[in-house]
C-alpha cells in the first residue's frame, strides 16, 4: 500500500490503451504513460539505476518495447519490457580489438537469449534519455549533426547476446521489434508522435542525460534550499542574510548559471558558507559526517572545483553531480520495497508472468570477477587496507566518494582464518587508471584518518586468477592403483574418521599442525595490535 502511495506521489498516469493481453485477460497493454512529470511512449529510451548499488551513479539504458498493467489486485502491477543497450564498460572484454568506440557510444542488444530484454517494474525508470542511431544503414533516417550533438548516447553497432559478438549490421527485427522503431524516427513521425520529442531537442542534454537532472527550476530550488540552510547556520548575521535572501529571490528569475557566478563572486564568507553547505549535504548523503572543518584539503579541493565551475559558467553540472545519486536513491527505495514483497510474490505461482520483475539487477552485467579481471588489466584496481573490519562495501564507496571525490565500486574482502583480523581490506575498482593512481598518491602522501584512529592505506592490487589449481592438495594422499578401487567409495563420500584407523591418527596430526599455525597467528596478531595502539 505504501508502494502505491509513493508511486502516486510521482504523478503516475497511463496513456492510450493498446488492447488486452492475448493469453492473459488480466493484463492491459498501453502505448504511453506519464511518470514523475515526463511522458514516456513506446520505443522511448530510458535510464534505469542499479538496485544492488544504491549510491553508485551506474545506470542502464533500455528501450521500452512493451508496457502493461496487471488489472488483478496485486502489488507493483505496472511493468515495462526493455530492450537493453550495453555500455562499452560492460563489454570491455569484447571490445579489446575494437578501436573506434565513441565516448558516448552504446551497443544495442541483439540476437536471442539472456540479456536481450527484461521485464522491469515501471517504477525502476529514473529518466528519459536521448539515444540517436548513427548507423549509415539506408533504412535509418540520418540524424542531423545537431541532433547527434544533442544526443546523450549514440549507437550504430549491436551486441549479439547469444554469441557475444559485436555486429556492424542491424537485423530487420530485434526482440520482435521492427527495425524502424530501432532506427531514428522520420521527421514527420517525430512531429506527429511526440511533443516531448521536440522538447528533448530543445532542452537537449539538460533533460535527459542524467536521470531526472534538475531542470532550471529544480536547481534554483536547490539554491534556495542552500540559502535557507545557510540562513539557519548563521543566526548572528540575521539581518544581513535576510537582505541577501531577498536578493536571492530576485535572482530566482534569472538563469541559474548566472546565479552561481554571482553568488560565487559575493563576499568570501558567504562563499565559505556555501562550501560548508556543500560539504554538509554531501556527507548527509553518504551517512558520513566528516569533520570538515578540520579538513583543509578537501575544502581546498572543493573550492578549487567550485571556482573552476563558476569560471566555466556551468554550475549546472556541479549540481547535477549532487543530484544524481539522490535521484537514484528514490529509485532504490522503490526497488527495495519490491524486494520485501519478493517472497510473497514468488510463492504465488499464479503470478508466473511477474517472475522477472526484479530483473533490474539481472541484466547480464559483467560479474564482479570479470570486472576484476579487466580492472586489473587496465590498472584501475586498488587495494584499500586498514579499514574498520566491520565496514560494508557501500560504506567504502562512500568513504572514497566523500574523502577523495572519486566514484568507484568496492568489495570488502571476507575475513577468513588467514586474514589479519584487525585489518579490514577492500578491493576497489575505479573508472580510470588515472583516478586509481591519483587515489594511491593522495593516500600515500597525505593521511586519511578514519573514525577509530585508522589511517587508510592504498596499494595497487594484483589478484590471483580464478582458476583450478593443478597441484595435489597437501595432506590428501592418493591411494595407489591396486587399492584404489576399494578406497574410491571412501573418497567420494565425506566422512568422520573412526578412532581405530590410521586415517584418524593422520587427521590428528593435521589438526595439530593447524592448531600450531593458529596459535602462531594469534601471537603475531596480538603483537601487531599492541603496535597499532601504542
Amino acid at each position: 500500500m505504501e508502494k502505491s502511495a509513493e508511486v502516486d506521489g510521482f504523478g503516475f498516469k497511463w496513456g492510450k490503451k493498446r488492447g488486452n493481453g492475448v493469453e492473459n485477460k488480466d493484463v492491459q497493454f498501453y502505448e504511453s504513460f506519464t511518470y514523475d512529470g515526463s511522458e514516456y511512449s513506446l520505443y522511448d529510451c530510458v535510464l534505469l539505476g542499479v538496485a544492488s548499488k544504491p549510491d553508485s551513479p551506474e545506470f542502464f539504458v533500455g528501450k521500452i518495447i512493451k508496457m502493461w498493467e496487471h488489472t488483478d489486485q496485486r502489488q507493483n502491477p505496472r511493468n515495462v519490457e526493455l530492450l537493453w543497450f550495453f555500455k562499452p564498460s560492460e563489454l570491455s572484454r569484447y571490445l579489446q580489438r575494437v578501436q573506434d568506440v565513441l565516448p558516448n557510444e552504446l551497443f544495442l542488444a541483439s540476437g536471442s537469449g539472456v540479456g536481450l530484454t527484461n521485464a522491469n517494474q515501471l517504477e525502476a525508470i529514473c529518466g528519459k534519455c536521448n539515444v540517436q542511431c548513427i548507423s549509415k544503414d539506408k533504412r535509418n533516417p540520418q540524424p542531423s549533426s545537431e541532433e547527434i550533438k544533442l544526443a546523450d548516447f549514440v549507437f550504430h553497432r549491436t551486441f549479439d547476446v547469444q554469441n557475444s559478438k559485436i555486429l556492424e549490421k542491424i537485423d530487420d527485427k530485434i526482440a520482435g521489434v521492427d527495425v524502424k522503431f530501432i532506427f531514428n524516427r522520420t521527421s514527420c513521425e517525430k512531429k506527429a508522435s511526440a511533443v516531448q520529442k521536440v522538447a528533448t531537442g530543445v532542452h537537449g542534454t539538460a533533460h535527459s542525460l542524467k536521470p531526472n537532472r534538475p531542470s532550471t527550476s529544480g536547481s534554483v530550488r536547490q539554491n534556495e534550499r542552500n540559502a535557507r540552510d545557510l540562513y539557519g547556520h548563521r543566526k548572528s548575521d540575521y539581518g544581513h542574510k535576510k537582505e541577501e535572501d531577498n536578493d536571492f529571490h530576485k535572482q530566482l528569475a534569472r538563469k541559474k548559471s548566472a546565479v552561481a557566478e554571482e553568488r560565487s563572486n559575493k563576499d568570501p564568507g558567504r562563499r565559505d558558507g556555501e562550501l560548508d553547505n556543500r560539504n554538509a549535504s554531501g556527507s548527509r548523503r553518504n551517512d558520513c559526517n566528516g569533520k570538515k572543518d578540520q579538513d583543509n584539503e578537501v575544502e581546498n579541493q572543493l573550492r578549487k572545483q567550485k571556482s573552476r565551475l563558476a569560471e566555466e559558467g556551468c554550475s549546472r553540472d556541479s549540481y547535477c553531480l549532487e543530484d544524481l545519486p539522490r535521484k537514484k536513491r528514490k529509485l532504490d527505495g522503490s526497488v527495495a520495497v519490491s524486494k520485501h514483497t519478493e517472497e510473497k510474490r514468488l510463492s504465488d505461482a499464479n503470478y508466473r508472468r511477474d517472475y522477472g520483475v526484479f530483473d533490474v539487477t539481472q541484466k547480464p552485467h559483467v560479474t564482479w570477477e570479470e570486472d576484476l579481471g579487466s580492472a586489473e588489466g587496465r590498472g584501475t584496481l586498488v587495494l584499500l587496507q586498514n579499514l574498520d573490519p566491520t565496514c560494508t562495501s557501500s560504506e567504502v564507496e562512500n568513504i572514497v566518494y566523500s574523502a577523495l571525490n572519486e566514484q568507484c565500486t568496492a568489495r570488502m574482502i571476507e575475513r577468513t582464518s588467514i586474514t589479519i583480523p584487525h585489518l579490514g581490506e577492500a578491493l576497489v575498482i575505479f573508472k580510470t587508471a588515472d583516478a586509481a593512481k591519483r587515489v594511491i598518491k593522495r593516500l600515500d602522501e597525505g593521511c586519511l584518518l578514519l573514525s577509530n584512529g585508522r589511517t587508510l592505506v592504498a596499494t595497487s592490487a594484483k589478484v590471483n586468477p580464478p582458476e583450478m589449481p593443478r597441484f595435489r592438495f597437501p595432506g590428501h594422499i592418493k591411494p595407489r592403483i591396486q587399492i584404489r578401487r576399494e578406497m574410491r567409495n571412501a573418497v567420494a563420500t565425506s566422512h568422520c574418521a573412526q578412532r581405530n584407523t590410521i586415517e584418524f591418527d593422520m587427521g590428528m596430526e593435521w589438526r595439530l599442525h593447524r592448531d600450531r599455525f593458529e596459535l602462531a597467528c594469534k601471537r603475531i596478531f596480538e603483537v601487531s595490535i599492541d603496535h597499532c595502539f601504542i
Binding site: D287, G290, K291, Q294, D295, E369, Q385, N386, P389, T390, T392, S394, E395, N398, A403, R411, I413, E414, T416, S417, I420, L423, C447, L448, L449, S451, R454, T455, L456, V457, V463, N464, P469, F471, F473, P474, G475, H476, R480, Q482, I483, A490, S494, C496, A497, I502, E503, F504, M506, G507, M508, E509, W510, H513, R516, F517, A520, I524, S528, H531
Partner: protein
Amino acid sequence: MANQGEEEYAKFLEKVRRTVYVDELTPHASEAVVKSAFDQFGTVTDLRFLPNYFGPKELPVSVLVEMENEDMAKAVIGTLTQFPFMVAGMPRPVRAAAATPEMFHDRPKKPGSKIQCRWIDPSDPEFDKAKKMKRLVQKHSAETSFMLKKQLEEAEKLDKQQSETATTHYKKFELIDKLYHDGAAKNLASHYNMKSFSFH
C-alpha cells in the same frame, strides 16, 4: 527507514548464526561434493566459496555453508570439533567454526553505525603517527604472508611424512597379503604345528 535497516540487519545476523565457516578444504572440492558432505547434518541452503585474492594458490579453500537452521549449524560444528571430518580426500580433515558477519562481503550496514574521516595536516603531530601506522599495516601484511608461506612449507613436510607412512603401511599389508596368497603362511603354520589362522 531506520526500522527497515534494523530489520534487515537482524535478518542478516540470523543468517550468520545459521552459517558455518569451513576451511582447510581442498581446492578440488566441487560445490556438489561439499553440499553432499554437509547435507549429512541437515539441509544446506547455500554455499559460498570465499575467494583467495592474494594468498598463495596452494592455500586451502574456505567456504561458508549456510544451513537451514541454527541447530544444524551447531551440529556441524560439534561433530567436526570431535572427529576429524574428511571431505573429498584424506587424511587432512576440514575445520569448522561459527561464521561471523565479517565473512560476508555483502553484509548490510549495521544500523546506527557512522563513519567519520579527516585528512591529517602534515603539520599536525598526529601526522607522523599516522605515517608510522601506514608502515605498520604494510609490515603486518608482509608478516602474515610470510607466516602463510611457512605454514605451507610445514604442510608440505607433514604431507611428505604421511605419504611415506602410508606407503610403508601399504607395503606391510601387501606383504601379508602375499604370504597368504602363495600359501607361505599356511606352510609355516603346519611346519610349526600351529593352527592355521585366517587373516581376512
